[in-house]
C-alpha cells in the first residue's frame, strides 16, 4: 500500500502569515493546505495522507484552542503546532497538555518550525500506520468463526490445547485444527504475535473459565 504525500494544514486568519508558512513549508518540499478560519477547516474533507496542523491561537470565531478540543473528540486527532502573536504561560500549558507538538510565539526561528512540522508529520504517519494495521487485524479477526474466536481468545491467554479442549468440551485434535485455522487466517508467525494482535484488538475470552 503506497502512502499519500504528506500535507501541512495552515489555519491562520492573517493572510501574510499564511503566505509565509506556505513558502516555508515549500522549502522542505511539502504542500500546504491553507484555511483562514477554524470553521473553514472543519468544513473541508479530512486529509487522506499524513498531515500536520499549524494553527493560530487567536482567531475571530473558533479559536485555535477551541479547535484543538474539537479535534480531540474525533477518531484520528491531527498533531498540532501552535503559533501566536502574543502567548501567555497558561495558554501554552493548556495547549501542550492537550498534546500539541509545539507552541511558537511570533516571530520564531524557521528551523524550529520545520523541525516541529517534521515531527508532527512523523507522528501522524505513525498514528496513521497503526490505525491502518488495526483496521487490517480487525478485518482478519472478523473472518474467524465464532468457535475459532473462542480458541483465539483462550490461546492468547496462554491456555494449552488440552485445557482448551476440556473447557470447550471437545477433543484436543479438534482444537489443534481450529488453532491452525486461526494462525493462518490472522497471518501470525507465532503465538507471541497472536498475543500482540489480541492486545491491539483488546480481545478477552468472554466466558469465564
Amino acid at each position: 500500500m503506497t502512502e499519500k504525500p504528506p500535507v501541512v494544514i495552515v489555519v491562520d486568519d492573517d493572510d501574510s502569515f499564511r503566505n509565509f508558512l506556505s513558502r516555508l513549508v515549500s522549502t522542505i518540499g511539502l504542500k500546504t493546505v491553507p484555511f483562514a478560519s477554524a470553521e473553514a477547516f472543519l468544513a473541508a474533507p479530512p486529509p487522506d495522507g499524513p498531515a500536520c496542523l499549524v494553527l493560530d491561537v487567536q482567531m475571530p470565531g473558533l479559536s485555535g484552542l477551541d479547535l484543538q478540543r474539537e479535534l480531540a473528540q474525533t477518531s484520528r486527532p491531527l498533531p498540532i503546532v501552535f503559533t501566536t502573536g502574543h502567548g501567555d504561560i497558561p495558554m501554552t500549558v493548556e495547549a501542550m497538555k492537550a498534546g500539541a507538538v509545539g507552541f511558537f510565539s511570533k516571530p520564531f526561528r524557521n528551523q524550529d518550525m520545520i523541525d516541529a512540522i517534521k515531527e508532527g508529520i512523523a507522528r501522524d504517519r505513525e498514528t496513521r500506520k497503526q490505525f491502518e494495521e488495526l483496521v487490517e487485524i480487525q478485518s482478519r479477526y472478523d473472518s474467524l468463526t465464532s468457535r475459532e474466536r473462542e480458541v483465539f481468545a483462550l490461546v492468547t491467554e496462554g491456555a494449552l490445547n488440552k485445557q482448551i479442549a476440556h473447557q470447550l468440551g471437545t477433543s484436543e485434535r479438534t482444537i489443534k485444527a481450529h488453532r491452525a485455522q486461526v494462525v493462518q487466517k490472522m497471518k501470525a508467525d507465532s503465538v507471541a504475535e497472536l498475543v500482540r494482535m489480541a492486545d491491539r484488538l483488546k480481545i478477552r475470552h468472554q466466558k469465564s473459565a
Partner: protein
Amino acid sequence: MIGANPQQSPNDVTQLRERATHVWSEGALRCVFERSPDAILLHDGVFIDCNQAAVDMLGAVGKDELLSLSPSDLSPPFQPDGTSSPAKAEQMIALALERGSHRFEWLAKRRNGSEFPVEVLLTAIPFQQRQILYVVWRDITRRKEAERELSKTRETRDAFRAGGGRVLEMIAQGATLSDVLASLVTLIEAQSEGLICSVLQLSEDGKYIRHGAAPNLPEIYIQAVNGAPIGPKNGSCGTAMYRGEPVIVTDMLVDPLWEDYRELAKLSGLRACWSTPIFTGQGKVLGSFAMYYREPQAPTGSEAQLTEVATRIAGIAIEHERAQNELQRTRSDLAHVARVTTMGELAASIAHEVNQPLGAIVGNADICRSWLQEEDVDLKLVAEALEDISSDGHRASQIIARIRSLVKKHVPEKSLLNVSDVAREVINLVGHEAQRKQVTIHSQLDESVPAVEADRVQLQQVLLNLAMNGMEAMQETDANQRELTVRTAMSDGNVLAAVSDRGPGIEPAKAEQLFKPFHTTKANGLGMGLAISRSIIESFGGKLWAEPNADGGAIFSFSLPARTQETQ
C-alpha cells in the same frame, strides 16, 4: 420783614391781628409786589399791572409797553408738548380758578423773540364778585440746563456701564482675549474725544511685551512694541510694567523714557502716552493699559475712573484667559494619562498585532537568506518574498503610528471630523482585544453623518474608552452573547454615537455615579475614564450619558453638534 423785628411777646392774639391788618392796609402788599425778584402780573381779562421784574424778564421797554401786550405776545405759538399756547393758557387758568391756585411750567417769549422756560404760579384773587389772577413767573432756564446736563451725564454713565457689562459678558461667554480687549479699548476710546487706547500683555516670564489690543494705533507701532522688553527706560508701558506703577508721559518727544523710541512715536504721530499697569488679584503685573493723544497733554483727573475700569476689566480678561489655558493644559495632560493607561490595558493586543507582521517578516527574511545560499537561486521567488517583507514592514509601521498618535502628548486641536471614520479607526484598534476577550463587534456606522468639530485623538480616546469598558463589562457574559455594537447616526441636528454592550447593565439611579472621578468597578482602573470622556465631549459642546440597553447591558452614547458645510 414783618417778623424780623423782635418785639414784645405775642401774647395778645387780637392785638396782633389788628396790627397785621394795619400793616397790609398801609400798602405793604404793594411793596412785596414791586420788590419781588419774580415777575408778577395781575390779569383781569387783560394785564392790569406788573412789577419791574416782569418788565426786565420779558425785555419790555417799560411797564406801559408790557401792559399793552396780550398774553399771546408773551409766548411762542406752541408749547413743548405740542398744544397751542392760547389753548393751554386757557386750560391752566381754568384749573387755577377751580382750585384757587395752579403751578406749571411754561415756555415764554421775550420781546426780542428769544424763548425761555418759566415756572408759572396762578393764584385766583376774588375782587368785587370777580376773580383776578395773580401771576408769578420764575425764570427756570438754569434749572432746566442743569437737569439736561444731569440726564446727559447719567446717559453717558449708563452707556459706559452697559458697555463694561457687555465686555464682562464676552469674557464669561468665552470670547477670544483679543476680541474682549478690542471691545474694551473701543469702549474707553468712545468716552473721550481724540483718545486712542491700547492694552498690552506681559509675557508669562515677566520679561517681554506682548500685543493685546489697539484697534486704532498704527500697525507699525503695534509691530514695534510687540515683543519689546520691559525695563526702567522703555517708553510709558514698558516702564509702567517694569515699575509696577502708572507712568504719565505728557510729551513723548521730550520725555527721557521715550529716548529710544522717539522716532517710532514721531512716525506713528503720537505725542502723549499715559500708561497704567494691570495687576492680578495677587498684585502680579499682567500687562498695561495706555491712553494716547496726538498732542502733548496732561491728565485732567477725569481719566482716572476710565483707567480704573479699563485696568480692572482687562485684568479679569487676561487672568481668565490664563486660567483657561492652564485648565486646558491640565485637562489635556489628564486625558493623555488616561490614554496611556488605556493603551497599557491594550498592551497584549498591541503586541499581538505588531508581532503578526514581524513574525512574517523575520520568517520570510530567513527563507530568503537560505535561498540565496543555494547555487541555483530562483530570483523570482526571492523577489516575491521581499515584496511580502516590505508590505508587512509598512503594516507594522502603520500599527505603531496609530498607537503612537494615541500615546504621544499633543495639544488638542479642533477640526471637522466624521464620527463614523473615527469609530472605524477605534474598532480596528480594539479588533484583537475583542478576539482575545471573545467579543463580537457589530458596527452600524452611518457614513452620511455630517461633520462635527472636535480633536481627532481625543474623540478616538472617548470611543476607545467606551469600547474597552463595554468589552470589560461582558467578562461574565456567556461567550456567545458577548456583543458590542458601535452605532453612529444623525439625531436632531446632532451626530450621535452609541456603544452598547450585553454586560450586567446599569441601574438608572446609579448611571450618573459612573461619571464621577475615581469611580471604578475594575481591579486596575484609574476610575477616570468616563469622567475624562465626559469632559472631552463637553469641551466640544456635546453631551455624554449612559442608559440601560433594552436587550440587557448598557448603552453609552454621546452627541455632538453637527457642523454644516457653510460653517467651514
